[in-house]
Symmetry: C2
Subunit: 461 residues, 2 copies
């Protein structure tokens, strides 16, 4: 049964042909934005715009109605109002379309009238899976498919997001772009007329393009099914959860958003942690954690060394890491300490221990590389967090860090304390070499903590 749904969802998410019902020619409107998204994203499949009056939109021939289509499309995007969408969904389902996206709002989020309209939509859909209603749509970056009404460049990767809120989903997408994190699928689930979180999670569980799953939810109509699904997924793939609608005031907002009452927040948080989910508290933290799990190596052990040329960042990194039960600030061997002392020489006044503070002796590429190597050669080290501050004349040793990642079968996370505007080239190199880069020590420590937690979950389960 689940497999059957997965097959249907596969057609929906990886269609060869997309029909856009309510495609428009006015740049102000959603019906145009969807067409723009398909074109800007570079979708290589067939696009069938449907509209009763237009002849052509963005160079694509427009069909007057569904009956005029040359064949049944895999996916239909419905960009009509909430009432017309119901009739159209019934038609699409009868035609045998594999799946649909319904963009309109005006359903369960609108109280009892909307609830009853959503019930009609559910009946109209029959067994055709529907994303939405009240959604931005979805992205499949590897398929160059953007059926959201936000046209944009797609950066492919291996993280898939499910977001109950389009706006939070967009915040995560924007932050992921800025952080150099590529996406596989991004799905605005909306009101979930006949696809619950657990259905989509089951799909992502078996999706070979998805390595890490991120989820923003304001509550679920079936929290037990969600937790049960998570329990079965998390041993295979990490799931990062951001739960909105935490308190009284937010709850009253939540109810009228997608028609889902938020459950008591603490029960949720507890259940989620228990099944091994990574729980985060902002769109930024979602990206921070997903980036570590997407790009970084799962550590082979929990013993961490920190290497810096400025102590403060290593202190705040420890503040964050020590909240992770699976964190061990390792003790370096005497041999390692001696190697480091020899590299730095007697003129650099530092205490030789972990965190290793190379001070002025670690500004330059060569000693940085040698000290990093000495630390990683130590058998008591499983993970290394390196910290370096951007400087006009001293070079961020990204090449040396990448080389260390290739040489040692250990986990490296690196912090470049500098501007988001200057990191791009170094970051691309490091991310290619399984080394996530962060701009603040807090984010770097949060990323490493997620990797340690993942190790603990895999080892313990």
């Amino acid at each position: 049964m689940a497999t059957e749904l997965n097959d249907r969802l596969n057609k929906l998410f990886c269609p060869k042909t997309v029909a856009v019902i309510g495609a428009g020619a006015e740049p102000d409107k959603v019906g145009y934005a969807i067409m723009d998204s398909l074109v800007t994203g570079g979708f290589p499949g067939k696009i069938f715009p449907v509209h009763p009056r237009h002849e052509s939109i963005l160079g694509y021939q427009v069909f007057r109605n569904l009956k005029d289509l040359p064949y049944v499309p895999d996916l239909a995007v419905v960009a009509l109002n909430q009432h017309s969408s119901v009739e159209t969904v019934a038609q699409l389902s009868q035609m045998g379309v594999k799946g649909a996206v319904v963009l309109a709002g005006g359903y369960a989020e609108m109280g009892s009238t909307g609830m009853s309209l959503q019930q009609k939509l559910r009946l109209a859909a029959g067994d055709m899976p529907v994303i939405g209603p009240n959604t931005l749509g979805f992205l499949n970056a590897n398929a160059k498919l953007n059926v959201t009404f936000y046209p944009r460049v797609l950066n492919p990767g291996n993280v898939s997001f499910l977001s109950q809120s389009g706006g939070i989903g967009l915040a995560i997408k924007a932050k992921a772009d800025d952080e150099g994190l590529g996406l596989a699928k991004w799905i605005g689930v909306g009101n979930r007329v006949n696809l619950e979180f657990h259905d989509l999670l089951e799909y992502l569980k078996q999706d070979p393009e998805t390595k890490v799953i991120g989820l923003f939810t304001e509550g679920s109509s079936n929290p037990r099914a969600l937790v049960k699904t998570l329990e079965s997924i998390i041993p295979c793939k990490p799931v990062v959860i951001y739960k909105g609608g935490k308190g009284d005031k937010a709850d009253s907002v939540t109810v009228t958003h997608t028609g889902a009452a938020a459950g008591p927040d603490k029960i949720w948080q507890g259940a989620l942690r228990q099944v091994g989910a990574h729980v985060v508290n902002s769109a930024s933290e979602m990206v921070t954690v997903c980036k570590a799990l997407s790009i970084g190596r799962i550590p082979r052990g929990n013993r961490v060394a920190i290497f810096t040329h400025t102590a403060g960042p290593s202190i705040v990194a420890c503040d964050i890491l020590q909240n992770e039960p699976n964190f061990c600030l390792t003790e370096l061997s005497n041999a390692t300490i001696k190697k480091i002392a020899d590299i730095l020489g007697p003129s650099v006044p530092v205490i030789h221990k972990n965190p290793v503070d190379g001070a002025a002796g670690a500004f330059l590429t060569e000693p940085f590389h040698k000290i990093g190597e000495a630390i990683l050669e130590d058998e008591a080290v499983d993970c290394l967090l390196t910290i370096f501050c951007e400087h006009k004349n001293w070079i961020y040793p990204s090449e040396q860090i990448a080389e260390l990642t290739r040489k040692f079968d250990k986990t490296i996370v690196t912090c470049f304390i500098g501007s988001a505007l200057t990191i791009h080239k170094d970051r691309a190199l490091l991310h290619q070499n399984e080394t996530p880069v962060y701009l603040t020590p807090e984010d770097a420590a949060t990323g490493l903590a997620a990797l340690l937690r993942r190790l603990e979950h895999i080892s313990g389960s």
Copy 2:
């Protein structure tokens, strides 16, 4: 006494002449970096490099020793090793130099030997104020003065930072640059040989260029004096505090960093909140909160309206705002609700209440402007948080938001859910118009919460 110290510190931070003892010509070295910083920063005063062998550095005539200087400089930067620094500081103090920066490490952070060297440095300094040792130096952006060994462009503003850690200070500086937040003074306090936090805070309290004070500390040797000083400053200027070294593992690191044992964290946090300090937990949050207090208007009341075209971000904003006791999600008047309903028209299916979700009716500039105006005309609204998602074809209504800020004597904070790379122009306009811009709803809510907290403190004290 405090006034006398302030006068001395004023010479130190706003010198007409800077001597660099240990100025160097090799780009690898700190002694060159300091010269580079002075030149790159555009310091308009006199620069006296001092070195026994060089003739000229970066076009500046080099003096063989301190005796050769044509007159006594206001400020001396000592870029020598920890031992030579002590002798030089004694000489500088005897010459009547107004203040010094000692960059070298190797003092109190190095255990008992270092402690005793730091004691010698203190004696050598006499009554000459010394920034450091074990510091990156300081910046005075309005004076185009950079005496850190990190050459960079300076973005002037009204926020001053004191950082016990150079690295955390750099993380804050980089983030502030990326966020469009200008600085007044940035001071790496280091080991605080004869200038404690409270001395520098007293200076910043009366500094006309400083509107907001940020402080990163790992602990203080005189926490009572610090708290007492904060108590006297915070009614005049807001102080934002980030405390590192929170737990056992971090504490053992802290002790060997700048020689200050971190106090039990909870006692600290409690005392800081009690005196009205804004307590933050990361370099990023430091910038988020300082930005609101630097750029935003202190609200005239605590009643907040939220205006969005996507509900999720307003929900997570409420999650954060409701942690602030002084937050009230206001009830809009029936007249306002009617105005908004008329602007949106009957075809946009939304529930009319606060947060105002204009959905597809608020994508375009004109209705966005009109709805914003209707909300701000409501007497039950003191603050407005607007949320807008970046779109290829729809324009971020930054000009309209700026106009609303000029028209209404109310507080506006705005969230642009989009890329850090595309916000620059809009952000400059909005920041000029007392409207802080953030890229995530969580940051925007954190900024607004800080303004509400500031209002509460001012009203209550």
